[in-house]
Symmetry: C2
Subunit: 308 residues, 2 copies
């Protein structure tokens, strides 16, 4: 017979009625994997693998809806109502935009198990640009791995360090003080690169650089209580921000991108013209993509109008 | 071949470098089992099984030392130095006194994985009496199961609910706002009893009753993110405080108990007499246990003195 550790034997008495259950360690979705924090009603971490095939395709966020994750026990799930009038937006950890290849995969990212209360400007601005940077890495690396999640960091308050964060709604969803990403990028026959970043859950304008938020991965691990990529040999890994630029898109590029999004979703010719005028007002020179999109939209909407 | 869930198949790419690791779900000790919160450097829950055999015996806390749990990754462990001058005491979750049967089992409860920063008066007072009550249950029930742990509960602050707690020392050990216990008691041929309690991590005097802190177990589960005793059929369980008294020992009984502890640890005859005088000062009538202990101590110390 296999010898049994007496501590484990004793545990079978102690745990006669089962182990206190914090839910499954890992939850699986179409194109992301996460661990859920049942006490805080947010993910603990969300893992992705991004490559050039996943970030393009027909999926559109207008077909996706935020909703409670049916796999999470009702006692521990967040609800859309928790976010309403809370002052906090619903921030994706696995971004919708990493799942353009498949509508179902994109829909999965709208499950509230993948969402944290995020400052709206941060969500639409700096964090959005950070997500774009991760996708853009696939033009220079074959495989990009990202783990994202919320943090609850202390601040000095008088003589002591204090952790302080609001909880929102009936479900008391925790609002993180910071968000993190650990990014691993690799291509054939070159060393793997890794970078860890902690971003405050606050408005961040175009002044700060992504590298301003880079931290030693061990610092993030100590704060989060997690060890990331345990099967990666870090002694051979390079600093992502030395192997690649870690440069986010500029204000100009970002504004052109926003105008592109507005053009794409425009449903009337007046709206198309109004968006196009923003370029002049902001003294922005459209790139070829925008010029083509503008022309295409005008033809489309003219045809639609003549049908009516 | 066994069909593979495509989500799980995709996960093997996403998790190429391993799952973010929050440490083992369950850690085993001589006479308790716990789950450790690597981010907060405290246990998440600690489970015990108490019966009359475990709570008596030769083990003595004077032979035990608080120390970092060697099984916890150094990055995530608490240290004794974190507690020094912090204003918080080291509070056992599995109490030392539940392990009188075995010195090694008692020593295990002094590992900092079993400890949370606890208000000293709470630790020595109300919580101590609560632990005594759990042990006393073994005189009326054969088996008592207890799960104990820390909580971080929000309070209303202006318009919003806020979670706020200090962290102490270099390791930033989280100071819980509350502590919980879920107690299951059973004896042959009677229904199992269960009670859940949430106690503020503050001084509590002899006014409040234990029942003042009883809560529906579902409330505790929602706050903690844990489901307790998942293999217990709750529909058949009774309310512990209806099946038993849930009465803590009185102030008088508690003061006698403290004098007993002082007598036991007295090392000189002067000390013995000084402690004995406290009875008069406090107008307490010693019970037979104390009278016998007093006599025994005097003989012991007289013999010791004549040896010197
Ligand atoms: Mg977002
Ligand atoms: Mg104690």
């Amino acid at each position: 017979p296999v010898p049994v550790d007496p501590k484990v034997k004793r545990a079978s008495d102690i745990l006669k009625y089962g182990i206190p259950d914090r839910g499954p360690t890992v939850r699986y979705y179409q194109n992301h994997v996460l661990s859920y924090d049942q006490a805080r009603r947010t993910p603990l971490w969300v893992a992705e693998h991004i490559n050039s095939q996943h970030i393009q395709g027909p999926a559109n966020r207008k077909h996706s809806k935020f909703r409670p994750d049916p796999s999470v026990d009702p006692m521990f799930t967040a609800h859309n109502g928790d976010y309403w009038k809370s002052g906090w937006s619903r921030g994706h950890m696995a971004p919708a935009g990493d799942n353009k290849f498949d509508q179902e995969a994109m829909n999965d990212t709208f499950l509230l198990s993948n969402i944290v209360p995020q400052n709206l400007q941060n969500n639409a601005g700096f964090w959005n640009r950070f997500e774009m940077y991760c996708r853009d890495l696939t033009s220079r690396f074959e495989d990009v791995y990202v783990v994202s999640g919320p943090l609850y960091l202390p601040t000095q308050e008088d003589e002591q360090k204090v952790v302080k964060y609001p909880v929102i709604g009936e479900s008391e969803v925790a609002v993180p003080t910071h968000l993190y990403k650990v990014v691993v990028a690799e291509r054939f026959n070159t060393p793997t690169s890794i970078g860890a970043f902690i971003v405050p859950n606050q408005p961040i304008d175009f002044g700060p650089k992504l590298t301003d938020f880079q931290v030693p991965i061990e610092d993030l691990e100590k704060s989060s209580g997690l060890k990331f990529y345990p099967q990666l040999d870090r002694s051979k890994a390079k600093n992502l921000c030395e192997m690649d630029s870690c440069k986010l898109i500029t204000q100009k590029e970002f504004e052109l991108w926003i105008i592109g999004r507005k053009l794409q979703s425009a449903r009337t010719q007046e709206r198309v013209e109004k968006v196009w005028k923003e370029l002049e007002e902001k003294k922005l020179k459209p790139d070829q993509y925008l010029v083509d999109l503008y022309a295409k939209k005008k033809v489309e909407l003219a045809a639609k109008q003549s049908e009516e």
